[in-house]
């Protein structure tokens, strides 16, 4: 067991950190947010140049063959800078679906495009009734000649407004909440019958509400793996989101501690007040506990036993959520009014952390499921 980064990993961290320092100051970020896409094509191109967009793919597919630890490193840096680009959607989620569910031909066609920054993906799974349950799918895929016809509605498709290809769960057979009978389909966003309505999310990112009205795709559009594939990719995504949350928390903690040292009231730095000192210490405890879980997530992302992976990932999500909430809230509380404003980064960390807490299941969702699965420490 060894928690140190390799030389290559440190290099990756440094070069991304440098890029973001250069291109992702908080003021620059405001500009990206106001642009039409809500994020920066320019930064995206820089990611491509750095190799980040092809990192999870096998070298023979045109990628770098990086693993979960590298994803953790990258996501953490992005969390620090509150980046807005569709890295999770395209590289982590899209990449996961292509690696585990696509044919060699599909990968040969798509991976170079993704790596070059020309192709964006988004995962469409949430439905009005589904809440956090991936298996709750009312959208249907019906056989249509050799191919499929897809009908239904997906909500809150993160970065679905700018995606070129949508990855869509749809029911081939069975009842709405059956685990069997779910297919995962690659659907071009400009296919006939696809209607998208984009909107802002509470953390200042973008998402879309998407309806599918008799959308025809070929037989090859169905990725192999069904629900198990989607769950695997979501587990990998939860690992990446956890690392992003660590970046947010660490940056928020640093910002807060700096503020405590410089802001004066009653003639002294407010960081000299013991109640705030203890709260800052508690923030650090939360950060370290969360960081431990992000590392566990990186370790478990490649666990082949799906049930074991899922249980541990639930534990990760719960602990990240708990600590993210505390750190986010206290960042605002200890700053006071200034962190309530759009102009200051503090409150934006709370917002992004809140969204991460509520993606792919909140604390109660995973607590309920994990406790039904026997908890963390199974009987020996």
């Amino acid at each position: 067991m060894d928690f140190d980064l390799s030389e290559d990993q440190r290099l990756l961290q440094d070069s991304l950190s440098k890029l973001l320092k250069d291109k992702y100051g908080f003021e620059q970020r405001k500009g990206y947010m106001k642009s039409e896409t809500g994020w920066s094509r320019d930064v995206w191109a820089a990611y491509a140049e750095l190799g980040l967009l092809g990192m999870p793919f096998a070298e023979e597919d045109g990628g770098l063959g990086y693993g979960a630890v590298e994803t953790m490193i990258v996501a953490e840096q992005m969390g620090r800078s509150l980046t807005l680009e569709p890295f999770m959607s395209t590289v982590v989620m899209g990449g996961g679906f292509l690696r585990h569910g696509a044919t060699a031909e599909q990968r040969a066609a798509m991976v170079p495009e993704i790596a070059a920054g020309n192709l964006l993906l988004a995962f469409a799974h949430t439905e009005p009734q589904s809440r956090f349950d991936l298996n709750d799918v009312a959208t249907t895929a019906k056989k249509d000649g050799a191919g499929w016809a897809i009908d239904g509605r997906k909500g809150v498709v993160v970065h679905g407004d700018t995606a070129d290809q949508l990855i869509v769960t749809a029911r081939i057979s069975g009842a709405r909440r059956d685990r069997d009978g779910i297919g995962v389909f690659l659907v071009p966003a400009n296919a006939q019958g696809v209607t998208r309505r984009g909107f802002g999310t509470s953390d200042g990112q973008r998402a879309a509400d998407i309806t599918f009205d008799n959308v025809k795709v070929g037989a090859e559009a169905e990725l192999k793996g069904g629900l198990a594939l989607a769950e695997r990719v979501v587990d990998e995504t939860m690992a990446a989101l956890s690392a992003e949350a660590i970046g947010c928390m660490e940056a928020a903690k640093d910002l807060t501690v700096d503020y405590l040292k410089t802001r004066k009231q009653f003639g002294r730095p407010i960081g000299s007040f013991q109640s705030l000192q203890h709260r800052a210490a508690e923030m650090m405890v939360c950060l370290e506990q969360a960081r431990s879980m992000a590392m566990l997530a990186a370790m478990m992302a490649s666990e082949p036993d799906a049930a074991e992976r899922r249980r541990q990932m639930r534990a990760v999500k719960i602990e990240i959520g708990r600590n993210a909430r505390f750190v986010g809230q206290q960042t605002v509380q200890m700053h006071g009014g200034i962190a309530m404003t759009m102009e200051y980064a503090g409150g934006h960390y709370l917002k992004r952390l809140t969204v991460i807490e509520n993606m792919f299941g909140d604390m109660d969702h995973h607590l309920a499921a994990l406790s039904e699965e026997g908890g963390v420490f199974l009987a020996a």
């Binding site: 809150v156 009231q265 009014g337 309530m340 934006h348 809140t354 109660d364 309920a368």
Partner: protein, 401 residues
Amino acid sequence: MELRFTEEERAFRQEVREWIDANLPAETRERMASGRTPTKAMQVDWQKRLYAKGWAVPHWPVEWGGQPWSAIKRFILSEEIQSTPAPTPLGFNCNMLGPVMVAFGTEEQKKHFLPKIANLDLWFCQGFSEPGAGSDLASLKTRAVREGDHYIVNGQKTWTTLAQHADWIFLLVRTDPGAAKQQEGISFLIADMKTPGITVRPIITVDGAHEVNEVFFDDVKVPVANLIGTENRGWDCAKFLLSNERTGQARVGASKERIRRLKLIAKEAPGGARPVMEDPRFRSRLTDVEVQLKALEMTTLRVLADENRALSQRKPNPASSVLKIRGTELQQAISELYVMAAGPYGLVSADPEADRWNEPEVAQDWQTLAQATYFNWRKQSIYGGSTEIQKNIMAKAFLGL
């Protein structure tokens, strides 16, 4: 000890409820019920109706539009307004400036301003906080120099709520920078927002709302007649204002309304296999908040019933400090329950700039407000005396630490 509402009090509650039902415009009720703040026009219209009925400022002296009611009766009115929900009379006017003017103002000031304050003919905003003076309010730096029958005011105020709606502002200024203590040498002024040299700049909060502002004073001429109380003794007015109406900060009625609504919503809100409300964990969390709110309601009543003693003996009821701290926590906890109920659709963010952005709707209206409200309500443990400041006060005043 008699711990039940009297027959008369119950009848009064019924009367209030019926009157509100008959008089509250439907669109105001609807907007409030959705969890939004009222528009300026709604607020003004409703407060004028309340004033006409004699219910806008029942806690003021009768000669200025008040009512000879018990604190409990005032509580009932306020609770019914909050739990309808209808707009509450503007706090800056009715709970802050009004009582200060009654206590410290001249006869001319009272005659001229009090009816306009109570009837919301003039909308007042509050100029207390400054960039360098938050929790440590007495360190404020905005200067007022007397020149003839005017003060020349220079400086900056911040976190000025709804300054964009305001006709007038009441503010604290430093009139004697050489005073021995920083609390001395402060004066309490009121000023017309249209006075040249006053500039309002919006502050957009993290939820996207425009609620607070910066207000800049650049050689602003304020007539000396606008001084409230004695020059350099403005801190007395400020302390009086801040200690006043602490019971209002608990906002129990509003929280009860939010809880009742959430129960209805959560009965329908999709929870995967079953509605959110049928998840025993969610239900327990909600019930837990309700229980604490019930306790806070009882605490509010205790403080109110004890008001006369506390005033006459000048010894505040220790329970009064509870109201701001727990009231805030519970409002924040309720906002977290809404976020939980909204689930993945809580990520959808209302666009406050575009009125009909959600047509056709991409998420239910309450879902699009859940996270924004959660973010916005983080302010409640910061403003009006942060939780930390409240605890400092308690430790000193009640525990002698």
